[in-house]
């Protein structure tokens, strides 16, 4: 028993984070392979949601199909598990019907950028208030390791036995060019930073995209000769990225070929649902 702290001096008590509050225990264990990055991203997401102060009923988590898209099954919010590539369209419907909900879309790089690429650019263009978390593992994990639109050139996949010859997308560049008002990148390796980035994305009004580099050791890792899941994290996530905060201080050779981490773009422009509502009000008044 310790004496109660003086009111002006806050005592720092470390309370273990209660993940169970946000999980559906009867849906566990999850399907993810040992070493998969998706679980780390889930953890960061839950902590960011907790910090945001929204109640569980105010949150709606929407996904498409893929290993990453299995996330809504495990979390105790309003959840919708939809079709491969279509999560953003379903989410747009939810947001328009219930603008007061905080809608978070959990999607894979294949889901968001290949089969659902069209929805991705148009969502960003509208700047509708959705938080879009793209789990970028550079592969179609769920279907057994086909190359995806983020697979680096030269990398192996079951569909690129001699190395991919397709130029990958940079999801952040695409989001920014399409009009998203918040664009950031994180990795599963930098888990505390990721938590902060996701929190900032949730608090932003407008389309906020977080491209999250994480590892699929089972397919991308094995086929590209990474020794272990941690080896992948070190090479791709730790050494393969640079924080935007440091980029100016580093010599060009230390930045070249690396992905930037952190908030890459942020602007305030009208959000779609608000514009929609104000248009209705304006026209209603005119009569």
């Amino acid at each position: 028993m310790s004496a109660p702290a003086a009111p002006e001096k806050k005592e720092k008590i470390s309370v273990p984070f209660d993940y169970n509050k946000y999980l559906r225990p009867n849906k566990l264990p999850h399907i993810w392979c040992p070493g998969c990055g998706h679980g780390i991203v889930l953890k960061a997401m839950l902590r960011a949601i907790d910090k945001s102060g929204f109640s569980k009923d105010q949150i709606c988590v929407v996904s498409g199909i893929g290993c990453s898209s299995r996330t809504p099954g495990y979390v105790d919010f309003n959840t919708l598990h939809t079709l491969h590539g279509r999560a953003l369209s379903f989410a747009t419907g939810i947001k328009l019907a219930k603008p007061e909900l905080k809608v978070i879309v959990v999607t894979g790089d294949g889901d968001a950028l290949a089969i659902g690429g069209n929805h991705f650019i148009h969502t960003c263009r509208r700047n509708i208030d959705l938080t879009v978390l793209v789990f970028t593992n550079a592969i179609y994990g769920m279907t057994g390791g086909q190359y995806s639109p983020t697979t680096p050139m030269g990398s192996q996949a079951t569909t690129s036995r001699y190395g991919s010859i397709e130029k990958p997308f940079d999801a952040c560049e695409m989001a920014k060019a399409s009009g998203a008002s918040f664009v950031a990148r994180g990795t599963a390796y930098h888990t505390l930073e990721l938590e902060k980035t996701i929190h900032e994305a949730i608090m932003h009004k407008g389309t906020s995209v977080v491209d999250i580099i994480d590892a699929c050791p089972t397919y991308f890792g094995r086929m590209n000769k990474y020794k272990s899941a941690t080896h992948m994290m070190e090479v791709l996530e730790k050494d393969g990225t640079v924080s935007v905060k440091q980029v100016d201080k580093l010599p060009p050779e230390k930045v070249q070929g690396k992905f930037l981490r952190g908030v890459l773009h942020k602007d305030e422009r009208p959000e779609y649902c608000e514009q929609y509502a104000s248009l209705i009000m304006e026209k209603a008044k005119a009569k």
Partner: protein, 396 residues
Amino acid sequence: MAITMTKGQTGLTGNAAIAIAMKQIDPDVCAAYPITPSTAVIEDFSSFVADGKVTTELITVESEHSAMSACIGASAAGARVMTATSSQGLALMWEMLYIASGMRLPIILTNVNRALSAPINIHCDHSDSMGARDAGWIQLYSETVQEAYDNLIQAVRIAEDKNVLLPAMVCFDGFITSHAIENITLLEDEEVKKFVGEYRADRYLLDTDRPSTYGAMSLPDVYIEFKHQQSQAMAGAKDVVVEIGKEFGRKFGRTYGLFDSYRLEDAETAIVILNSAAGTTKVAVDELRKQGKKVGALRPRLFRPFPFKEIAGELSHVKAVAVLDRVDSMSGFGGPLFNEVRSALYDNEKRPRVFSRIYGLGGRDYKVKDALGVFGELEKVVETGKVETLQKYITL
């Protein structure tokens, strides 16, 4: 994956056998997008492409919508084209399925049957291909790995026949046939090559001597004529299926027809059922035959066009028929196979009693005891002359 390689006999999964058939056919173009449980077809085939075993251009597009679109473009340009998919993949191709058949392009598609969402399920039922049954594609259903392999090779000839010129879909059961290893006899590469021959499209894009156009606007003055021709080609495809099935038998010893009859000659009751579940049903038939009961089974191989006359003839002496569907057409009136069979029997002098049973949705097991249960119900119908329950779900 092959486990044994004795002379002529190989242990193969359905997907591996289909990939080998595709390798032997060596199409010009294959455009595909992965989906469980058909993924391994293209996965194996992409290795053949990478190893230089085929001359095919493999296009790994970003969705099935694009896959079928690319297939259509390539086929219209005169190429022999193949692809494979399942479930939502086929559903996403819907819009293009009609384009392929309307343009009379003999594209060959392997559909590994899987349930449609929602809720999401990766296991076998026939809701995917049955949903596409009116898209103008020839549909062949396969009980075993051997039949899937043989059907794919024959499908090329059927679709490309100049009196048919329609796309064709070869269907078999997800996981049950696609992933289980069965013993099969492969043909030699040369035999397949000779059997399918070289594809020479009569009219194709980029033919500078005879320029043509596909899919151009057809208003009320001609549209119905196009559809009439397509309908006639589809109806006529039945005879081509029979001919090619016979030719295949003459050459390789395995003859195929419109359907597979099992102990039907003197049967009083029968189950009509598609794909792998027919095997289970046959076990039940054998068990009941041992007890002296006159039972049989009929497994349609060709579903589109539907061989209504032949099936009505085959069942003409049977007193009661149960049609089992691994899909519900949600019409409130039984499954699609039930509707076709029952309608086909309408013109028979002596119509059997017919009822519908829906089974095995989303991969629920269909066991010998389930077939025995249905035969029990059929027996009662023969005794009383009355169908108590016209339609219901079994295997619940």
